[in-house]
Amino acid sequence: MRHILSVLLENEAGALSRVVGLFAQRNYNIESLAVAPTEDTTLSRLTLTTRGDDSKIQQIIKQLNKLVEVVRVENLCDGDYLERELLLIKVRAEGEARQEVKRTADIFRGQIIDVTAETYTIQLVGPSNKLDAFIRAIDDVSILEVVRSGVSGISRGSAD
């Protein structure tokens, strides 16, 4: 099962490599990873998605908590949460396909943010499965480049 872990990390050189190294060393899988500083510049927020059964996720969380630079680990999937991911996709948009791509982007509430005679670059924000659906909806042969930010997530409701 897919889990989204939100990790609060000391904003120090080498801290990220410890997290990534832990996953490699213990044979855990990272599906996506997003990291940036928080409102407190001494802290970074790292959001990662991984897969595993409950006992594996428990073990991952415990191992993360053992890292000296990890301040807090939260499994967003334990409660109600919001997840968003940013997709930038460059597609071939020529002839009839040009209209078709625009219509599909509109349906998914994507925005065209760059235009050439042959291509569109579309920006789309949403949960990962929505981005997956959009990519599936675009004809394979017309996709030139896909860039995804990795998942960011936050729990619903007032802060605890």
Partner: protein
Amino acid sequence: MTEQLSGGDMLIRSLQDEGVEYIFGYPGGSALHIYDAIFRQQKIEHILVRHEQAATHMADGYARSTGRPGVVLVTSGPGATNAITGIATAYMDSIPMVVISGQVPRDLIGTDAFQETDMVGISRPVVKHSFLVRDAEEIPSVVKKAFHIATTGRPGPVVIDVPKDTTDPFEQFPYAYPETVSMRSYTPAFAGDLTQIDRAVAAMLAAKKPVFYVGGGVILASAWEQLRTLVNALGAPVASTLMGLGAFPGTDPLSLGMLGMHGTYEANMAMDGADLVIALGARFDDRVTNNPEKFSPKATIIHMDVDAASINKIIDAHIPLLGDGSWVLEQLSARLAQALQDQDDAAAQARAQGLEVWWQQINEWRAANGLNHNLKAQAGKPILPQLAIQSLYKVTQGEAFVCSDVGQHQMFAAQYYHFDEPRRWINSGGLGTMGFGLPSAMGVQMGNPEATVTCVTGEGSFMMNMQELSTCLQYGLPIKIINLNNQALGMVKQWQDMQYGGRHSQSTYSDSLPDFKTLVEAFGHVGIKVADATELDTAMTEAFSEKNKNRLVFVDVWVDPHEHVYPMAIKGGAMRDMVLSKSTAAESS
């Protein structure tokens, strides 16, 4: 006015203020400012080894035997990489250690400079934590944090990588050693959950077939007194891991000796048949559990550990006890004592009867297939390695520090030398590092100058770090080395005998072994060779005689090269599935 010190001097002063007695190390370019700071002070003694790996094992042996953190100093590049095996050894066995490595100057980091290696990166998977010094001013606080992290919670090695320019003697800074340390992201568990402790007490009272499964964590937590109180109150048998030997007295009738792959028959049968397993500071290692699916099938599992990640990692615990070993065991003992007192007569009688039946069963196991501790020397027959350990045990009256290498001799020592006290049995359990024995014994002797320190080794392991014989002469370390010489890599050979049709691939070298007696004499020590079983006790007595009190003595014991370690767990089986002798091995294969 605060004192002004250079980075190098601050580093050494911080170690002094931390109460460090010894630094085990080896100099080199990037560490020279630090070595000069060592030269200009008297408080800390530096022990010059012959290879950096040995420095880490020395610091490790010092730490295991004294409970105080070991300190290592090496230079950058090869100095740092040579230390890795010893750091990994300490990491696997949770030994507190601080390793300081020189690094190239900050402006050269990342340029592939001479003797540059990314020490923080290369050591990352085998350290509890590591620091790269960014500014000279932060050296005292980094040292303080390093010792705090190394020694608290589940202990482990911490690396401090020190760029040469941060130790520049011409740049001085105000020095003050921090009195306290606070890290928001590091708060090791201490007090446990009393609700779980009460559940554990109830399970102990209800159990008919309880067994203690005691690991090295009890020793690391200095909780052996609390353990002994608890065990004696419950009256249950104690099976010890390789790392836990000595936490509970080995000669106590409640002790079943070691469990696991080469554990005693009665310990493994008790684990398999138990209705309650009380795991204390142990981590359900694969060398203990055999097949986890078949582990103690009828038992409720209580698991105490200071590391949350150890609990439910391999075997799910019915009753988890997270916390510091001494705190949790103190509470467990107190609450168990109270509960036993409050028990009504009928319940007490039922419990006593249950235990009696259990002990009867255990004693039958012990009588049927227990180890024979009264081996007799037979003239004209090769020396059994077990007999050599038995002889060592007799001559040292069971009171020596025994530092072991890795292989058959390690298992024979664990089986046949009974440890009544903790911190006396020093061996690389988790990583299984050959070459650990001699340098760890040196560290033990440094930390315990008056004690009898022995190194039980085999010729394979010994040759991995024998250059340290020179260090032993320099510092007058009177270690007694018992070399169980079977002219082969015995444990590898045993596996090849049992699982590879006797094909001894790359495990023998009998034609090219040195004459160890002459070898150690060349290093300035005493060598004794014994090959006749009837002369074994005499040789052993001579090694430990008054005449040799201040000398390093190497006893080269030529043992039966065909001997195997038994019992041996059958791969993929339950703990009850063991091969007990060569003849049964033949039947089972």
